[in-house]
């Protein structure tokens, strides 16, 4: 029997995740989509799809009959709202939470890099819901790029990892727009913690072009010098790993390498003058077109990764 999930947040991400669970999941079903605006497009969509809805946030959800049947909670609100939601959910030790906001309270989770059964098992055994048992999905840009940083780092130590995420303006909801700093800060930190870089930097660009442009992500690393072919193969293998849960994730160009010689180093804030091998990886993420059209790869990579994690948590 499918276990029930609640999705808090009826914006772009929450609604996309709802559709993904309904269409793709063999182990989860949507118990409730929770919003705060009864007139939101997401809640209207849920109603049309026969999904139970709640327009009074987490407080409303806890009062509903379905609450006790909910196993997994996906939080797709905002970093600030997540903190509030977490406090409300804490007394209910049977719930598992996947955090899709950039709140970064719990440990970062990039499925292709650091998902292991043991970690999730351990979380299953945690009796109380605390910050350690809430897996945080970093950011859309982080999901797309940190696997690549890790792929270089497993071959040659990465001194510095930098990512640029370009997304279509239409795919950035009001929550994302009001909290751009959370994107850059959370992604930068996860480039270090999960990607393995000594230092991370993240940049996000919104492009309003019509028709909307597909999500693009670029990764630059400065690592120790190593065999280029080995790094290239590691990156290709990692892309295949991510493709398992995000089919539209591809290398848009072959991996590019440049030597940064010792006599012409780059000056990186916090690291000083550094030389080594610069690797440039140009990615593209075509969305599944579930809630927003295919250009919104940023939605797809986030919700696909979160679903993969949510399924494994109960599996």
């Amino acid at each position: 029997m499918k276990r029930k999930a609640a999705i808090i947040g009826s914006g772009n991400i929450g609604t996309d995740l709802m559709i993904k669970i309904i269409r793709n999941s063999s182990v989860l079903k949507v118990g409730c989509l929770v919003g705060i605006d009864p007139n939101s497009d997401g809640l209207a969509r849920a109603k049309r799809m026969g999904v139970e809805i709640c327009s009074e946030g987490i407080d409303g959800l806890i009062q509903m009959d379905i609450w006790k049947e909910i196993t997994v909670i996906f939080d797709a609100t905002s970093a600030k709202a997540h903190l509030y939601n977490l406090e409300k959910i804490k007394p209910f030790s049977d719930k598992k939470i996947v955090d899709l906001t950039p709140a970064a309270v719990g440990p970062y989770m990039i499925p292709a890099v650091n998902f292991d059964a043991e970690l999730c098992n351990k979380l299953g055994l945690v009796k109380a819901v605390d910050s350690e048992s809430v897996l945080n999905m970093v950011t859309c840009g982080g999901q797309a790029t940190i696997p690549i940083v890790a792929a270089v780092n497993r071959i040659a130590h990465v001194h510095y990892g930098e990512i640029v995420a370009s997304i279509a303006s239409k795919s950035a909801g009001p929550g994302t727009r009001a909290n751009i700093d959370e994107f850059t800060e959370t992604t930068s930190e996860a480039i270090q913690k999960i990607g393995g870089a000594d230092q991370g930097k993240a940049i996000i660009i919104l492009n309003p072009a019509e028709p909307s442009l597909v999500m693009r992500d670029t990764v630059f690393t400065l690592s120790e010098t190593a065999d280029r072919e080995t790094i290239r193969e590691s990156i290709h293998a990692m892309v295949a790993e991510v493709q398992k849960y995000v089919p539209g994730y591809t290398l848009h160009q072959e991996v590019q390498f440049d030597d940064i010689p010792a006599d012409k180093p780059v000056f990186i804030e916090g690291l000083g003058h550094k030389h080594g091998l610069k690797t440039t990886v140009l990615l593209q993420v075509i969305g599944a077109g579930h809630y927003l059209p295919e250009y919104a790869g940023n939605l797809d990579i986030m919700t696909s990764a979160a679903l993969a994690v949510g399924e494994k948590m109960i599996g």
Binding site: T184, I203, I268, L282
Partner: protein, 342 residues
């Protein structure tokens, strides 16, 4: 409409960074700032060309950090206000606080011309820090006057003291500037100032700045010898000369500025800042001026023409900050070339 006092903001030490790959020596930078202060400009902007924390593979690493460039400058200025630039998505509020602690009293928060709402948290934070705040609507040619004014109104509602028409691609015609100014004037409160930031790619830097002033702008951006991205900004010494001839009052001394432009700034320009095939292509194709040096490097590396790369970037509607797409475009062009040879 009351006529507001002209306010000349120098961008030699911020936009000018683009012209030399963000490589100002910090001692040199300080001496230029002091020179500008003595010459009577109202504000001096200092940061990496792409704003605070712009140093990166994508935009180029600076010779120093923003903090090293900014340190010890405020103390040396007798008249000019120390200002900086921040692009949400690149720099953060933490960066803004660091800059403020170094004596920065004014900041421009820059977004693409249709994305003003990403500036809300930064404008509000800057106001809370007690700073003067300008909203900087980049690539202004990509949004029509009325809609651009609506974006300006958003910035005003977050607390911006001034909103700029920022012609990052140097692509606006004089009518285009005038129409945007009129739309701003019709939409914004009388207390909100209006600014203009031009690039000289179509040789209209000074003309467009004057047209903006005649249509209600009082904060005018310029740089010594036009030192800036692409064909540069509105050249400061020329602007002051023109304003003097028009009988407009500023605090700036044209002779001192001419000396600084020719004796100090021009010798720094390894790639001349001027209207030429490449920089004209920027204005003609409506492409972000900062793409210039990156595109020249990509053209050299992959055996292509810079102007072709720039025009393709324009076709693909790339916006400011998407420097990573220059190599992407170049690689696509290489593929196209080799497949057409087969």
């Amino acid at each position: 409409m009351s006529k507001k006092k002209l306010y000349i903001q120098d961008v030699t030490l911020r936009d000018g960074m683009h012209a030399i790959g963000h490589q100002y020596d910090k001692h040199k930078l300080k001496s230029i700032a002091v020179g500008l202060d003595q010459a009577g400009v109202d504000a001096i902007e200092i940061a990496h060309g792409d704003g605070l924390s712009g140093g990166s593979f994508n935009y180029g690493f600076g010779a120093h950090t923003d903090w090293d460039w900014l340190e010890g400058i405020a103390e040396e200025l007798n008249h000019a206000i120390l200002t900086t630039l921040l692009l949400p998505g690149i720099g953060t509020i933490e960066d803004l606080k660091k800059a403020q602690a170094l004596g920065v009293r004014s900041v421009r928060i820059a977004t693409h011309s249709t994305e003003a709402d990403v500036s809300k948290q930064h404008i509000e934070a800057a106001k809370k820090l007690g700073m003067d705040v300008g909203g900087f609507l980049m690539m202004a040619h990509m949004n029509e006057p009325k809609k651009l004014a609506e974006q300006a109104q958003l910035m005003e509602s977050y607390g911006a003291d001034c909103v700029y028409v920022t012609d990052s691609a140097g692509a606006l015609m004089m009518d285009g500037v005038a129409d945007r100014m009129k739309a701003f004037r019709d939409t914004l409160s009388d207390n909100t100032e209006i600014g203009i930031h031009c690039h000289h790619n179509l040789s209209l830097g000074v003309a467009n700045t004057i047209v903006a002033m005649q249509n209600g702008a009082n904060r005018l951006d310029a740089s010594l010898a036009g030192m800036g991205a692409g064909a540069g900004n509105c050249p400061l010494e020329v602007l002051i000369a023109v304003l003097n001839r028009m009988g407009e009052h500023t605090n700036a001394a044209v002779n001192q500025l001419m000396d600084l432009a020719d004796d100090v700034i021009r010798p720094l320009q390894k790639r001349p800042v001027r209207v030429d095939r490449e920089t004209l292509s920027l204005g003609y194709a409506g492409v972000y001026s900062s793409f210039l040096l990156h595109s020249e490097r990509a053209a050299k590396k992959y055996g292509l023409n810079t102007a072709d790369i720039l025009q393709e970037l324009g076709k693909r509607k790339m916006v400011g900050g998407q420097e990573d797409m220059i190599v992407d475009v170049a690689l696509d062009m290489v593929k196209q070339k080799s497949s057409s040879l087969k």
